[in-house]
Protein backbone atom coordinates (compact mmCIF):
# COMPACT_ATOMS: atom_id res chain seq x y z
CA UNK A 1 0.00 0.00 0.00
CA UNK A 2 1.24 3.47 -0.84
CA UNK A 3 1.82 5.47 2.30
CA UNK A 4 0.40 8.99 2.24
CA UNK A 5 3.30 10.19 4.37
CA UNK A 6 5.70 9.27 1.56
CA UNK A 7 3.82 11.75 -0.60
CA UNK A 8 2.92 14.41 1.93
CA UNK A 9 6.21 14.86 3.75
CA UNK A 10 6.67 17.70 6.22
CA UNK A 11 8.95 19.56 3.80
CA UNK A 12 6.17 19.48 1.22
CA UNK A 13 3.58 20.81 3.67
CA UNK A 14 6.05 23.52 4.68
CA UNK A 15 6.65 24.61 1.07
CA UNK A 16 2.90 24.47 0.36
CA UNK A 17 2.07 26.70 3.32
CA UNK A 18 5.01 29.01 2.85
CA UNK A 19 6.10 28.83 -0.78
CA UNK A 20 9.59 30.23 -1.34
CA UNK A 21 10.29 32.72 -4.12
CA UNK A 22 6.60 33.44 -4.52
CA UNK A 23 5.59 36.66 -6.26
CA UNK A 24 6.54 38.88 -9.18
CA UNK A 25 10.11 39.29 -10.39
CA UNK A 26 10.92 42.78 -11.68
CA UNK A 27 13.58 42.72 -14.35
CA UNK A 28 12.89 39.12 -15.37
CA UNK A 29 14.14 38.19 -18.84
CA UNK A 30 12.57 34.73 -19.14
CA UNK A 31 8.91 33.95 -18.60
CA UNK A 32 6.37 31.17 -19.19
CA UNK A 33 2.88 30.18 -18.03
CA UNK A 34 1.98 26.60 -17.18
CA UNK A 35 -1.43 25.03 -16.91
CA UNK A 36 -2.54 21.63 -15.70
CA UNK A 37 -5.90 21.00 -17.36
CA UNK A 38 -6.55 17.99 -15.16
CA UNK A 39 -6.84 19.90 -11.89
CA UNK A 40 -6.81 23.54 -12.99
CA UNK A 41 -3.37 24.37 -11.57
CA UNK A 42 -1.99 27.60 -12.97
CA UNK A 43 1.62 28.66 -12.70
CA UNK A 44 3.51 31.70 -13.88
CA UNK A 45 7.31 31.49 -13.79
CA UNK A 46 9.79 34.34 -14.10
CA UNK A 47 13.56 34.01 -14.37
CA UNK A 48 16.50 36.37 -14.46
CA UNK A 49 19.27 34.78 -16.49
CA UNK A 50 22.67 36.47 -16.85
CA UNK A 51 25.67 35.02 -18.69
CA UNK A 52 23.94 31.65 -18.87
CA UNK A 53 23.41 31.52 -15.10
CA UNK A 54 19.99 31.61 -13.43
CA UNK A 55 20.30 34.46 -10.94
CA UNK A 56 16.68 34.59 -9.80
CA UNK A 57 13.59 32.40 -10.16
CA UNK A 58 10.15 33.32 -8.82
CA UNK A 59 6.68 31.96 -9.40
CA UNK A 60 3.04 32.90 -8.93
CA UNK A 61 -0.22 30.99 -9.30
CA UNK A 62 -2.46 28.51 -7.53
CA UNK A 63 -2.22 24.78 -7.32
CA UNK A 64 -2.38 21.70 -5.14
CA UNK A 65 0.15 21.02 -2.40
CA UNK A 66 2.33 18.90 -4.67
CA UNK A 67 2.52 21.38 -7.54
CA UNK A 68 3.04 24.37 -5.21
CA UNK A 69 5.76 22.62 -3.20
CA UNK A 70 7.41 21.37 -6.37
CA UNK A 71 7.51 24.88 -7.86
CA UNK A 72 8.84 26.30 -4.60
CA UNK A 73 11.58 23.66 -4.30
CA UNK A 74 12.46 24.07 -7.97
CA UNK A 75 12.98 27.83 -7.70
CA UNK A 76 15.30 27.20 -4.75
CA UNK A 77 17.24 24.59 -6.68
CA UNK A 78 17.63 26.81 -9.75
CA UNK A 79 19.40 29.75 -8.23
CA UNK A 80 23.01 29.91 -9.34
CA UNK A 81 22.65 27.03 -11.78
CA UNK A 82 23.91 27.20 -15.31
CA UNK A 83 21.15 27.15 -17.92
CA UNK A 84 22.89 24.21 -19.55
CA UNK A 85 22.51 22.08 -16.40
CA UNK A 86 18.75 22.45 -16.29
CA UNK A 87 17.88 19.89 -18.96
CA UNK A 88 19.83 17.22 -17.09
CA UNK A 89 18.23 18.14 -13.76
CA UNK A 90 14.73 18.06 -15.33
CA UNK A 91 15.45 14.66 -16.84
CA UNK A 92 16.61 13.35 -13.47
CA UNK A 93 13.61 14.83 -11.67
CA UNK A 94 11.22 13.41 -14.22
CA UNK A 95 12.75 9.94 -13.84
CA UNK A 96 12.60 10.22 -10.05
CA UNK A 97 8.89 11.09 -9.86
CA UNK A 98 8.09 8.33 -12.36
CA UNK A 99 9.98 5.83 -10.22
CA UNK A 100 12.71 5.23 -12.82
CA UNK A 101 16.42 5.05 -11.98
CA UNK A 102 18.27 8.36 -12.13
CA UNK A 103 21.85 9.46 -11.57
CA UNK A 104 21.58 13.23 -11.06
CA UNK A 105 22.10 14.57 -7.53
CA UNK A 106 18.64 15.77 -6.47
CA UNK A 107 19.40 17.41 -3.14
CA UNK A 108 16.25 18.74 -1.46
CA UNK A 109 14.16 17.86 -4.51
CA UNK A 110 14.39 14.23 -3.37
CA UNK A 111 11.45 14.80 -0.99
CA UNK A 112 9.25 14.54 -4.07
CA UNK A 113 10.39 10.98 -4.80
CA UNK A 114 7.23 9.71 -3.05
CA UNK A 115 5.16 11.02 -5.97
CA UNK A 116 6.21 7.91 -7.92
CA UNK A 117 3.80 5.85 -5.79
CA UNK A 118 0.94 8.12 -6.91
CA UNK A 119 0.96 8.09 -10.74
CA UNK A 120 -2.04 10.43 -10.90
CA UNK A 121 0.06 13.13 -9.25
CA UNK A 122 3.15 13.05 -11.50
CA UNK A 123 1.69 15.87 -13.57
CA UNK A 124 1.32 18.02 -10.46
CA UNK A 125 4.99 17.57 -9.61
CA UNK A 126 6.27 18.23 -13.13
CA UNK A 127 4.14 21.27 -14.04
CA UNK A 128 6.75 23.73 -12.74
CA UNK A 129 9.48 21.92 -14.65
CA UNK A 130 7.59 21.90 -17.94
CA UNK A 131 6.98 25.61 -17.43
CA UNK A 132 10.68 26.13 -16.75
CA UNK A 133 11.53 24.32 -19.95
CA UNK A 134 9.19 26.63 -21.87
CA UNK A 135 10.63 29.73 -20.17
CA UNK A 136 14.19 28.81 -21.10
CA UNK A 137 13.16 28.07 -24.68
CA UNK A 138 10.98 31.18 -24.82
CA UNK A 139 7.85 29.36 -25.92
CA UNK A 140 4.99 31.71 -26.74
CA UNK A 141 2.15 29.34 -25.88
CA UNK A 142 1.27 28.45 -22.28
CA UNK A 143 2.51 24.92 -21.62
CA UNK A 144 0.25 22.13 -20.50
CA UNK A 145 1.10 18.86 -18.82
CA UNK A 146 -1.47 17.10 -21.01
Amino acid sequence: MSDLRDLYQEVIFDHNRHPRNFGPLPGANRHADGFNALCGDKLSLNLKVEDGIIQEARFEGSGCAISTASASLMTEALKGRREAEVAELFEGFHRMVKGEPYTVEMGKLAVLAGVSEFPARVKCATLAWHTLNAALHQADQPVSTE
Binding site: M1, S2, L4, L7, Y8, F13, L38, C39, G40, D41, K42, S62, G63, C64, A65, I66, T68, F118, A120, R121, C124
Partner: protein, 406 residues
Protein backbone atom coordinates in the same frame (compact mmCIF):
# COMPACT_ATOMS: atom_id res chain seq x y z
CA UNK B 1 -37.93 3.06 0.92
CA UNK B 2 -35.19 1.55 -1.19
CA UNK B 3 -32.76 -0.77 0.63
CA UNK B 4 -29.37 -0.11 -0.97
CA UNK B 5 -27.86 -3.23 0.63
CA UNK B 6 -30.27 -5.35 -1.37
CA UNK B 7 -29.25 -3.74 -4.66
CA UNK B 8 -25.52 -3.65 -3.87
CA UNK B 9 -25.39 -7.40 -4.50
CA UNK B 10 -26.12 -6.64 -8.14
CA UNK B 11 -22.85 -4.68 -8.39
CA UNK B 12 -19.88 -7.04 -7.97
CA UNK B 13 -17.33 -4.21 -8.16
CA UNK B 14 -18.61 -2.78 -4.87
CA UNK B 15 -17.08 -5.75 -3.08
CA UNK B 16 -13.53 -4.81 -3.99
CA UNK B 17 -11.02 -3.10 -1.76
CA UNK B 18 -8.96 -0.05 -2.60
CA UNK B 19 -5.71 0.52 -0.67
CA UNK B 20 -6.82 -2.26 1.69
CA UNK B 21 -10.13 -0.62 2.53
CA UNK B 22 -13.63 -1.40 1.26
CA UNK B 23 -14.37 0.75 -1.78
CA UNK B 24 -16.72 3.69 -1.23
CA UNK B 25 -17.66 4.72 -4.76
CA UNK B 26 -18.91 8.31 -4.79
CA UNK B 27 -17.95 9.30 -8.33
CA UNK B 28 -21.28 8.34 -9.87
CA UNK B 29 -21.68 11.63 -11.69
CA UNK B 30 -18.59 10.67 -13.73
CA UNK B 31 -19.84 7.15 -14.41
CA UNK B 32 -22.02 4.69 -12.52
CA UNK B 33 -21.07 1.08 -11.79
CA UNK B 34 -22.76 -1.67 -13.83
CA UNK B 35 -25.22 -4.21 -12.40
CA UNK B 36 -25.02 -7.94 -13.19
CA UNK B 37 -28.05 -7.55 -15.45
CA UNK B 38 -26.01 -5.31 -17.78
CA UNK B 39 -22.85 -7.43 -17.62
CA UNK B 40 -24.92 -10.57 -18.28
CA UNK B 41 -26.83 -9.04 -21.19
CA UNK B 42 -23.62 -8.07 -22.99
CA UNK B 43 -22.00 -11.42 -22.28
CA UNK B 44 -25.12 -13.28 -23.40
CA UNK B 45 -25.09 -11.43 -26.69
CA UNK B 46 -21.44 -12.31 -27.32
CA UNK B 47 -21.94 -15.94 -26.28
CA UNK B 48 -25.15 -16.63 -28.16
CA UNK B 49 -25.88 -14.31 -31.08
CA UNK B 50 -22.91 -12.08 -31.84
CA UNK B 51 -23.40 -10.95 -35.45
CA UNK B 52 -23.67 -7.79 -37.45
CA UNK B 53 -27.12 -6.25 -37.61
CA UNK B 54 -29.53 -5.19 -40.35
CA UNK B 55 -27.83 -7.22 -43.09
CA UNK B 56 -27.47 -10.97 -42.67
CA UNK B 57 -30.31 -13.36 -43.41
CA UNK B 58 -28.83 -15.86 -41.00
CA UNK B 59 -30.29 -16.58 -37.57
CA UNK B 60 -27.59 -14.85 -35.53
CA UNK B 61 -27.92 -11.61 -37.46
CA UNK B 62 -31.70 -11.71 -37.10
CA UNK B 63 -31.43 -12.22 -33.35
CA UNK B 64 -28.80 -9.51 -32.95
CA UNK B 65 -30.94 -7.08 -34.98
CA UNK B 66 -33.98 -7.87 -32.86
CA UNK B 67 -32.06 -7.32 -29.62
CA UNK B 68 -30.57 -4.06 -30.93
CA UNK B 69 -33.94 -2.73 -32.08
CA UNK B 70 -35.49 -4.06 -28.87
CA UNK B 71 -33.10 -1.84 -26.92
CA UNK B 72 -34.18 1.13 -29.04
CA UNK B 73 -37.80 0.48 -28.11
CA UNK B 74 -36.87 0.28 -24.40
CA UNK B 75 -35.21 3.67 -24.70
CA UNK B 76 -38.27 5.11 -26.46
CA UNK B 77 -40.50 3.93 -23.62
CA UNK B 78 -38.02 5.18 -20.98
CA UNK B 79 -37.97 8.65 -22.54
CA UNK B 80 -41.68 8.69 -23.25
CA UNK B 81 -41.04 9.45 -26.92
CA UNK B 82 -43.91 9.11 -29.39
CA UNK B 83 -42.01 7.18 -32.08
CA UNK B 84 -39.20 4.63 -31.94
CA UNK B 85 -37.52 6.16 -35.00
CA UNK B 86 -36.93 9.30 -32.95
CA UNK B 87 -34.25 7.38 -31.01
CA UNK B 88 -30.78 7.61 -32.61
CA UNK B 89 -27.88 5.65 -31.16
CA UNK B 90 -24.66 7.61 -30.70
CA UNK B 91 -21.39 7.09 -28.82
CA UNK B 92 -22.69 9.23 -25.99
CA UNK B 93 -24.26 12.58 -25.12
CA UNK B 94 -21.23 14.42 -26.52
CA UNK B 95 -21.56 12.85 -29.95
CA UNK B 96 -25.31 13.43 -29.91
CA UNK B 97 -24.80 17.18 -29.33
CA UNK B 98 -22.15 17.33 -32.05
CA UNK B 99 -24.52 15.53 -34.40
CA UNK B 100 -27.21 18.16 -33.88
CA UNK B 101 -24.68 21.00 -34.21
CA UNK B 102 -23.21 19.66 -37.45
CA UNK B 103 -26.45 18.62 -39.17
CA UNK B 104 -29.40 20.67 -37.92
CA UNK B 105 -27.14 23.52 -36.83
CA UNK B 106 -25.28 23.95 -40.09
CA UNK B 107 -28.49 24.00 -42.11
CA UNK B 108 -30.49 26.26 -39.79
CA UNK B 109 -28.03 28.86 -38.53
CA UNK B 110 -26.45 31.80 -40.29
CA UNK B 111 -24.56 34.98 -39.51
CA UNK B 112 -26.24 36.99 -36.76
CA UNK B 113 -28.34 34.09 -35.49
CA UNK B 114 -28.10 33.26 -31.80
CA UNK B 115 -27.63 30.17 -29.67
CA UNK B 116 -28.54 30.46 -26.00
CA UNK B 117 -26.89 28.19 -23.42
CA UNK B 118 -26.63 28.42 -19.63
CA UNK B 119 -23.81 29.37 -17.27
CA UNK B 120 -23.63 25.84 -15.88
CA UNK B 121 -23.14 23.80 -19.04
CA UNK B 122 -20.67 20.93 -19.37
CA UNK B 123 -17.98 21.58 -22.01
CA UNK B 124 -19.88 19.13 -24.25
CA UNK B 125 -22.77 21.60 -24.40
CA UNK B 126 -20.52 24.63 -24.99
CA UNK B 127 -17.74 23.70 -27.39
CA UNK B 128 -19.87 22.14 -30.21
CA UNK B 129 -21.90 25.37 -30.31
CA UNK B 130 -18.76 27.53 -30.34
CA UNK B 131 -17.50 25.46 -33.28
CA UNK B 132 -20.85 25.93 -35.02
CA UNK B 133 -20.71 29.70 -34.35
CA UNK B 134 -17.27 29.84 -35.95
CA UNK B 135 -18.57 28.06 -39.05
CA UNK B 136 -21.80 30.03 -39.44
CA UNK B 137 -21.15 33.44 -37.88
CA UNK B 138 -23.83 32.81 -35.24
CA UNK B 139 -23.43 34.19 -31.72
CA UNK B 140 -23.37 32.35 -28.40
CA UNK B 141 -25.27 33.89 -25.47
CA UNK B 142 -25.40 32.67 -21.88
CA UNK B 143 -28.18 32.58 -19.25
CA UNK B 144 -26.46 33.70 -16.03
CA UNK B 145 -26.83 32.09 -12.60
CA UNK B 146 -26.68 33.31 -9.03
CA UNK B 147 -24.22 32.29 -6.30
CA UNK B 148 -26.40 29.32 -5.31
CA UNK B 149 -26.14 27.92 -8.82
CA UNK B 150 -29.71 28.83 -9.82
CA UNK B 151 -30.37 30.16 -13.32
CA UNK B 152 -31.62 33.75 -13.44
CA UNK B 153 -34.88 32.94 -15.18
CA UNK B 154 -35.95 36.59 -15.28
CA UNK B 155 -33.05 37.15 -17.70
CA UNK B 156 -34.30 34.53 -20.16
CA UNK B 157 -36.97 36.75 -21.71
CA UNK B 158 -34.36 39.44 -22.38
CA UNK B 159 -31.87 36.95 -23.84
CA UNK B 160 -34.38 35.26 -26.14
CA UNK B 161 -34.74 37.30 -29.33
CA UNK B 162 -36.18 36.77 -32.78
CA UNK B 163 -32.62 35.76 -33.79
CA UNK B 164 -32.49 32.91 -31.25
CA UNK B 165 -32.51 29.67 -33.24
CA UNK B 166 -31.59 27.25 -30.49
CA UNK B 167 -31.54 27.00 -26.70
CA UNK B 168 -29.23 24.26 -25.39
CA UNK B 169 -29.48 23.70 -21.66
CA UNK B 170 -28.71 20.99 -19.16
CA UNK B 171 -31.48 19.43 -17.10
CA UNK B 172 -29.14 18.67 -14.17
CA UNK B 173 -25.77 20.39 -13.66
CA UNK B 174 -22.93 17.89 -13.33
CA UNK B 175 -20.79 20.32 -11.32
CA UNK B 176 -23.45 21.75 -8.99
CA UNK B 177 -26.39 19.34 -8.95
CA UNK B 178 -28.90 22.06 -9.85
CA UNK B 179 -32.10 20.83 -11.53
CA UNK B 180 -33.04 23.45 -14.10
CA UNK B 181 -36.63 24.47 -14.99
CA UNK B 182 -36.32 23.20 -18.56
CA UNK B 183 -40.10 23.01 -19.13
CA UNK B 184 -40.33 26.76 -18.56
CA UNK B 185 -37.28 27.39 -20.77
CA UNK B 186 -38.81 25.27 -23.54
CA UNK B 187 -42.08 27.20 -23.34
CA UNK B 188 -40.32 30.54 -23.56
CA UNK B 189 -38.01 29.39 -26.38
CA UNK B 190 -40.84 27.98 -28.45
CA UNK B 191 -42.71 31.25 -28.02
CA UNK B 192 -39.97 33.01 -30.05
CA UNK B 193 -39.69 30.13 -32.52
CA UNK B 194 -36.40 28.71 -31.17
CA UNK B 195 -35.66 24.99 -30.93
CA UNK B 196 -34.50 23.45 -27.65
CA UNK B 197 -31.87 20.79 -26.94
CA UNK B 198 -31.87 19.37 -23.42
CA UNK B 199 -28.67 17.74 -22.11
CA UNK B 200 -29.95 14.87 -19.99
CA UNK B 201 -26.58 13.19 -19.33
CA UNK B 202 -26.58 13.97 -15.62
CA UNK B 203 -30.35 13.75 -15.23
CA UNK B 204 -31.63 10.44 -16.56
CA UNK B 205 -30.47 8.34 -13.58
CA UNK B 206 -32.27 10.66 -11.16
CA UNK B 207 -35.17 12.46 -12.84
CA UNK B 208 -38.01 10.89 -14.83
CA UNK B 209 -38.50 12.55 -18.21
CA UNK B 210 -41.21 12.40 -20.84
CA UNK B 211 -40.44 13.75 -24.29
CA UNK B 212 -44.06 14.30 -25.27
CA UNK B 213 -44.90 16.16 -22.05
CA UNK B 214 -41.63 18.11 -22.01
CA UNK B 215 -41.93 19.06 -25.68
CA UNK B 216 -38.18 19.53 -26.23
CA UNK B 217 -36.91 19.22 -29.78
CA UNK B 218 -33.73 17.31 -28.94
CA UNK B 219 -32.69 15.37 -25.84
CA UNK B 220 -29.35 13.63 -25.31
CA UNK B 221 -27.90 11.26 -22.73
CA UNK B 222 -25.09 8.73 -22.21
CA UNK B 223 -25.61 5.09 -21.25
CA UNK B 224 -22.75 4.92 -18.76
CA UNK B 225 -24.24 7.42 -16.32
CA UNK B 226 -27.41 5.28 -16.25
CA UNK B 227 -25.75 2.04 -15.05
CA UNK B 228 -25.14 1.06 -18.70
CA UNK B 229 -21.99 0.63 -20.80
CA UNK B 230 -19.65 3.36 -22.01
CA UNK B 231 -19.51 4.17 -25.72
CA UNK B 232 -23.27 4.16 -26.19
CA UNK B 233 -25.62 7.10 -25.94
CA UNK B 234 -28.80 8.48 -27.37
CA UNK B 235 -30.06 11.38 -29.39
CA UNK B 236 -33.80 11.89 -29.24
CA UNK B 237 -35.11 14.23 -31.92
CA UNK B 238 -38.62 15.11 -33.04
CA UNK B 239 -39.52 13.04 -36.08
CA UNK B 240 -40.08 15.96 -38.47
CA UNK B 241 -36.79 17.58 -37.44
CA UNK B 242 -34.74 14.40 -37.85
CA UNK B 243 -36.36 13.70 -41.20
CA UNK B 244 -35.42 17.12 -42.55
CA UNK B 245 -31.85 17.01 -41.23
CA UNK B 246 -28.94 16.01 -43.47
CA UNK B 247 -26.97 12.91 -42.43
CA UNK B 248 -24.05 13.18 -39.97
CA UNK B 249 -21.47 10.62 -41.09
CA UNK B 250 -21.56 8.75 -44.37
CA UNK B 251 -21.07 5.00 -44.66
CA UNK B 252 -22.82 1.68 -44.45
CA UNK B 253 -26.30 1.26 -42.97
CA UNK B 254 -27.20 4.93 -43.49
CA UNK B 255 -27.97 4.48 -47.20
CA UNK B 256 -30.74 3.02 -49.34
CA UNK B 257 -28.90 2.97 -52.64
CA UNK B 258 -25.39 3.91 -53.66
CA UNK B 259 -24.06 4.51 -57.15
CA UNK B 260 -20.98 6.54 -58.04
CA UNK B 261 -23.32 9.26 -59.29
CA UNK B 262 -25.75 9.49 -56.41
CA UNK B 263 -26.64 8.06 -53.03
CA UNK B 264 -30.06 8.02 -51.43
CA UNK B 265 -30.13 8.02 -47.68
CA UNK B 266 -31.88 5.60 -45.41
CA UNK B 267 -34.87 6.66 -43.32
CA UNK B 268 -34.53 7.87 -39.74
CA UNK B 269 -33.01 6.82 -37.39
CA UNK B 270 -30.64 4.76 -39.60
CA UNK B 271 -29.70 7.84 -41.63
CA UNK B 272 -27.67 8.95 -38.60
CA UNK B 273 -26.14 5.58 -37.75
CA UNK B 274 -23.37 5.03 -40.29
CA UNK B 275 -21.17 1.99 -39.78
CA UNK B 276 -21.54 -0.98 -37.47
CA UNK B 277 -22.84 0.42 -34.18
CA UNK B 278 -21.95 -0.55 -30.59
CA UNK B 279 -24.37 -3.49 -30.66
CA UNK B 280 -23.44 -4.98 -27.28
CA UNK B 281 -23.52 -1.49 -25.78
CA UNK B 282 -27.04 -0.85 -27.03
CA UNK B 283 -28.17 -4.21 -25.66
CA UNK B 284 -26.43 -3.41 -22.37
CA UNK B 285 -28.16 -0.03 -22.23
CA UNK B 286 -31.50 -1.73 -22.78
CA UNK B 287 -30.72 -4.03 -19.83
CA UNK B 288 -29.70 -1.01 -17.72
CA UNK B 289 -33.05 0.63 -18.42
CA UNK B 290 -34.88 -2.57 -17.44
CA UNK B 291 -32.82 -2.60 -14.24
CA UNK B 292 -33.54 1.05 -13.39
CA UNK B 293 -37.25 0.54 -14.05
CA UNK B 294 -37.31 -2.56 -11.83
CA UNK B 295 -35.78 -0.54 -8.96
CA UNK B 296 -38.01 2.40 -9.81
CA UNK B 297 -36.62 5.82 -10.73
CA UNK B 298 -38.76 7.45 -8.04
CA UNK B 299 -37.28 5.09 -5.41
CA UNK B 300 -33.76 5.85 -6.65
CA UNK B 301 -34.40 9.59 -6.51
CA UNK B 302 -35.89 9.40 -3.00
CA UNK B 303 -32.93 7.38 -1.73
CA UNK B 304 -30.37 9.75 -3.27
CA UNK B 305 -32.23 12.81 -1.97
CA UNK B 306 -32.07 11.34 1.52
CA UNK B 307 -28.33 10.60 1.23
CA UNK B 308 -27.67 14.07 -0.16
CA UNK B 309 -29.61 15.65 2.69
CA UNK B 310 -27.70 13.63 5.30
CA UNK B 311 -24.38 14.44 3.62
CA UNK B 312 -25.26 18.13 3.34
CA UNK B 313 -26.13 18.36 7.03
CA UNK B 314 -22.90 16.58 7.90
CA UNK B 315 -20.92 18.87 5.57
CA UNK B 316 -22.35 21.99 7.22
CA UNK B 317 -20.77 20.89 10.50
CA UNK B 318 -17.26 20.59 9.04
CA UNK B 319 -15.19 23.69 9.82
CA UNK B 320 -13.67 25.23 6.73
CA UNK B 321 -15.92 23.28 4.33
CA UNK B 322 -17.88 25.27 1.78
CA UNK B 323 -20.56 23.65 -0.36
CA UNK B 324 -20.45 24.81 -3.99
CA UNK B 325 -23.96 24.70 -5.45
CA UNK B 326 -26.74 25.27 -2.94
CA UNK B 327 -29.78 25.38 -5.21
CA UNK B 328 -32.99 24.05 -3.66
CA UNK B 329 -33.99 20.55 -4.85
CA UNK B 330 -30.51 19.53 -6.07
CA UNK B 331 -29.96 16.05 -7.52
CA UNK B 332 -27.42 13.73 -5.92
CA UNK B 333 -24.32 15.97 -6.10
CA UNK B 334 -22.28 17.46 -3.26
CA UNK B 335 -19.56 19.73 -4.62
CA UNK B 336 -17.32 21.29 -1.98
CA UNK B 337 -14.02 22.92 -1.15
CA UNK B 338 -11.96 22.86 2.04
CA UNK B 339 -10.23 26.00 3.19
CA UNK B 340 -6.48 25.84 2.61
CA UNK B 341 -6.55 22.45 0.89
CA UNK B 342 -6.60 21.96 -2.87
CA UNK B 343 -9.32 19.56 -4.14
CA UNK B 344 -6.67 17.43 -5.84
CA UNK B 345 -5.00 16.79 -2.49
CA UNK B 346 -8.42 15.95 -1.02
CA UNK B 347 -8.95 13.44 -3.83
CA UNK B 348 -5.64 11.65 -3.24
CA UNK B 349 -6.11 11.36 0.52
CA UNK B 350 -9.73 10.21 0.20
CA UNK B 351 -8.60 7.61 -2.34
CA UNK B 352 -6.10 6.36 0.20
CA UNK B 353 -9.06 5.80 2.53
CA UNK B 354 -10.86 3.84 -0.19
CA UNK B 355 -13.22 6.73 -0.98
CA UNK B 356 -13.50 7.56 -4.70
CA UNK B 357 -14.65 11.10 -5.46
CA UNK B 358 -13.94 13.47 -8.33
CA UNK B 359 -11.65 16.43 -7.91
CA UNK B 360 -11.21 18.91 -10.70
CA UNK B 361 -13.22 21.28 -12.84
CA UNK B 362 -15.79 18.63 -13.86
CA UNK B 363 -15.53 19.68 -17.53
CA UNK B 364 -17.26 22.89 -16.52
CA UNK B 365 -14.45 25.47 -16.35
CA UNK B 366 -16.85 28.44 -16.71
CA UNK B 367 -18.62 27.24 -13.54
CA UNK B 368 -15.28 27.18 -11.70
CA UNK B 369 -14.49 30.69 -13.00
CA UNK B 370 -17.87 31.91 -11.76
CA UNK B 371 -17.05 30.75 -8.24
CA UNK B 372 -13.40 31.90 -8.61
CA UNK B 373 -12.18 28.40 -7.85
CA UNK B 374 -9.59 26.30 -9.71
CA UNK B 375 -11.52 23.13 -8.89
CA UNK B 376 -13.89 21.47 -6.44
CA UNK B 377 -14.16 18.08 -4.79
CA UNK B 378 -17.38 16.32 -5.76
CA UNK B 379 -19.16 13.42 -4.09
CA UNK B 380 -22.08 12.07 -6.12
CA UNK B 381 -24.53 9.40 -5.01
CA UNK B 382 -26.22 6.44 -6.69
CA UNK B 383 -28.84 3.89 -5.73
CA UNK B 384 -26.26 1.57 -4.12
CA UNK B 385 -24.69 4.10 -1.77
CA UNK B 386 -25.39 3.83 1.95
CA UNK B 387 -25.43 6.06 4.99
CA UNK B 388 -22.35 4.19 6.27
CA UNK B 389 -20.54 5.29 3.12
CA UNK B 390 -21.51 8.91 3.74
CA UNK B 391 -20.01 8.46 7.20
CA UNK B 392 -16.80 7.02 5.66
CA UNK B 393 -16.61 10.07 3.38
CA UNK B 394 -16.67 12.44 6.33
CA UNK B 395 -14.23 10.36 8.35
CA UNK B 396 -11.87 10.61 5.39
CA UNK B 397 -12.44 14.39 5.12
CA UNK B 398 -11.52 14.61 8.80
CA UNK B 399 -8.30 12.75 8.01
CA UNK B 400 -7.52 15.24 5.22
CA UNK B 401 -7.91 18.16 7.58
CA UNK B 402 -5.87 16.47 10.28
CA UNK B 403 -3.04 15.78 7.86
CA UNK B 404 -3.03 19.24 6.33
CA UNK B 405 -3.96 21.56 9.13
CA UNK B 406 -2.20 20.01 12.12
Amino acid sequence: MLDPHLWRRQFPILERKVHGKPLVYLDNAATTQKPLAVLDAERYYFEHFNANIHRGVHALSQEASEAFEGAREKIRAFLGAAHVEEIVFTRGATEAINLVAQTWGRTHLGAGDEILISAMEHHANIVPWQMLCEMTGARLKVIPMDERGVLLMDQVDRLLTERTRLVAVTLVSNALGTVNPVAEIIRKAHAVGARVLVDGAQAVAHVAVNMVALGCDFFVFSGHKLYGPTGIGVLYGKKDLLTAMPPYQGGGDMILQVTFEKTTYNQIPYKFEAGTPHISGAIGLGAAIDFVRSVGLENIAAHEDWLLQEATERAQQVKGLRIIGTAPGKASILSFVLEGIHPHDIGTILDNEGVAIRSGHHCAMPVMDFFSLPATARASFALYNTLEEVERLFQAIERVQKLFLS
